[in-house]
């Protein structure tokens, strides 16, 4: 064997080992979801067993409210994404194509609102929501999710729109397209990719959001992170059910994440890393 291929083999083996160790907790969650409760807490831990689906059917039963929380997660994520896009797209469009000397400052300021720690707004938001009777409502969560994701959305859309070559607009204008026609027939189709990745990131962030979900909701409007939190009391060790519920909750986002690594990097770093 050549020295370079030995090195590459060693490197590959090391990479696999490290990756498997780091992935182990998730792999264990996956295995536990298919165990019986007894197998889940057996000593020593079992790796080979006959998988059962009981935990999933148990978790999905009406009395465990899983479906209610899943529905809440779906509604809040989708609604905050759609509303966020509807507010962010015009703003990004305006800043990308009609930039003034203030554009830069406005973008910076928007970014800085994302820097506010959530706990800084906890009491005001809680008191406001309580005063107008919006505690434990989906609307309150949707508003908060939308607002906290908005800066990232404007940034991502701005970055993707800025990449569209200017000549296309000049051509459209020459052909007598009005601003609305230009937006509809030129900007919208060209920015679909950017909108998709922005929407994806927003979905991921809203789906996983735990701070507001835990603090603003209880039985009615809780999302999946809040449901999972109720398993924290060790009254009986329902690890298999916890694993099944967790697996169902994280699976969609995991798959999303695998397919949108590039977009996530750009979104999370505000375009500073390419």
């Amino acid at each position: 064997m050549q020295p370079s291929s030995t090195l590459s083999f060693l490197r590959g083996t090391a990479a696999w080992l490290v990756a498997l160790v780091l992935f182990f907790p998730l792999g264990w969650l996956f295995l536990t979801a298919f165990k019986t409760e007894l197998q889940a807490i057996s000593i020593p831990p079992v790796f080979v067993f006959e998988p059962v689906l009981e935990n999933f059917s148990e978790v999905l039963q009406p009395r465990s409210h899983y479906l209610l929380f899943a529905k809440n997660s779906l509604i809040t994520s989708l609604a905050s994404t759609v509303i966020g896009l509807a507010i962010a797209l015009p703003a990004a469009y305006s800043m990308a194509f009609f930039s003034t000397r203030h554009t830069r400052n406005i973008l910076m300021w928007m970014l800085s609102t994302k820097m506010m720690p959530a706990v800084g707004a906890l009491l005001p938001v809680y008191v406001l929501a309580k005063t107008i009777g919006m505690l434990d409502t989906l609307s309150a969560l949707i508003i908060v999710f939308t607002l906290s994701n908005l800066p990232i959305m404007v940034w991502m859309l701005y970055a993707s729109l800025k990449d569209i070559p200017r000549e296309i607009f000049e051509a459209a204008r020459m052909d007598g397209a009005g601003i609305w026609a230009e937006f509809r027939h030129v900007v919208l189709p060209l920015s679909l990719g950017g909108m998709a990745s922005t929407g994806l990131l927003c979905l991921v962030l809203s789906w996983n959001e735990a701070f507001w979900s835990l603090n603003l909701t209880s039985a009615n409007a809780g999302t999946l992170p809040a449901l999972i939190a109720t398993y924290s009391n060790p009254i009986g060790l329902f690890w298999a059910k916890l694993s099944a519920a967790s697996l169902l909750a994280i699976a969609p986002i995991l798959v999303f994440g695998w397919f949108s690594q590039k977009q996530l990097v750009q979104g999370m770093t505000f375009g500073a890393v390419k």
Partner: protein, 285 residues
């Protein structure tokens, strides 16, 4: 017309973000100056700076500040160093590289409450947990992680998640490293260490800065991982600023003291964000 339309398009976003920033901030400042407890209805008399004094002088504050800084430093160090090593390890082609990348970044997409309970129960449980079993198998006494090493435990579970993030960023960044330059350096006899020190590391400077800053912003707000594992304890051993403000707000219902604390968190975050905004801003030019 050409000026009015762009402004109109921008107006909704600017307006809602302005409200989102100003309303909580002004309310927090107001709350921090009055004597206000949610359990006592009625008027809120002006309290001067007593809330601030109360918050700063409580032993919990110093502990929370120390825990916050220790936690931030530890997670940042682990994720940046570990992330760079991992990214370098998978930068060259090998069998199943795509799958290894997927395994490495997966923890980042796990929601905080799942992360917390996965570690609290299945990994760190002193009797049935995987780590306890591992310890026993190796001939050690199992550790009751959350009681004996509460801050370290929280640091571990959060680092696990953010290591994946750092790794993802560094892997992406390494791919834009100039291959030809690297090859030229190799031809000229630069050793692997020299190439890393003079080419790779400078290339990673900005991603590292960005990762650290973004982690600061998100990690300052770490809440679920503390709330449902240690509950900030034992005592205040794993209470960070966010959790302390939460405790004052929604457990003690002391709006005044909590708001004073919240302003500290905001100021702290702003100090960090000034640097981040500078770095990201360079990208606009």
């Amino acid at each position: 017309m050409t000026r009015l339309l762009p402004r109109t398009l921008m107006a909704p976003a600017v307006a809602v973000l302005l409200c989102w920033m100003l309303a909580p901030l002004l309310m927090t400042i107001y709350f921090s100056l009055v004597d206000y407890n949610l359990t006592r209805p009625g008027s809120h008399p002006f309290a001067g700076l007593s809330n601030y004094l109360h918050f700063i002088t409580s032993p919990d504050f110093l502990a929370a500040l120390r825990n916050t800084l220790l936690f931030l430093a530890a997670v940042a160090a682990v994720t940046v160093i570990g992330g760079i090593l991992l990214a370098l390890l998978v930068n060259e082609p090998f069998f199943g590289r795509g799958l290894v990348r997927v395994l490495l970044i997966s923890p980042f997409f796990v929601m905080p409450t799942v992360n917390a309970l996965l570690w609290k129960h299945m990994m760190m449980n002193p009797v049935y947990g995987v780590l306890a079993n591992l310890w026993t198998a190796l001939g050690f006494t199992p550790i009751d992680w959350l009681t004996q090493w509460p801050l370290l435990s929280v640091t571990l579970m959060v680092s696990w998640q953010w290591l994946a993030f750092a790794c993802l960023i560094f892997m992406t960044s390494l791919q834009s490293l100039d291959r030809e330059q690297m090859e030229a350096a190799r031809m000229d006899g630069a050793s692997a260490v020299q190439r890393f020190w003079y080419l790779t590391l400078p290339h990673l400077a900005r991603p590292v800065a960005v990762v650290v800053m973004i982690e600061m912003i998100f990690l300052l707000s770490v809440f679920a991982e503390i709330a449902i594992t240690t509950g900030g304890g034992p005592g205040n051993a794993s209470t960070n600023l966010t959790y302390l403000v939460y405790k004052q707000s929604l457990i003690n219902f002391d709006v005044g003291a909590a708001s004073a604390g919240a302003l500290f968190a905001v100021i702290f975050a702003n100090l960090v964000s000034i640097f981040l905004v500078r770095i990201v801003g360079k990208n606009l030019d």
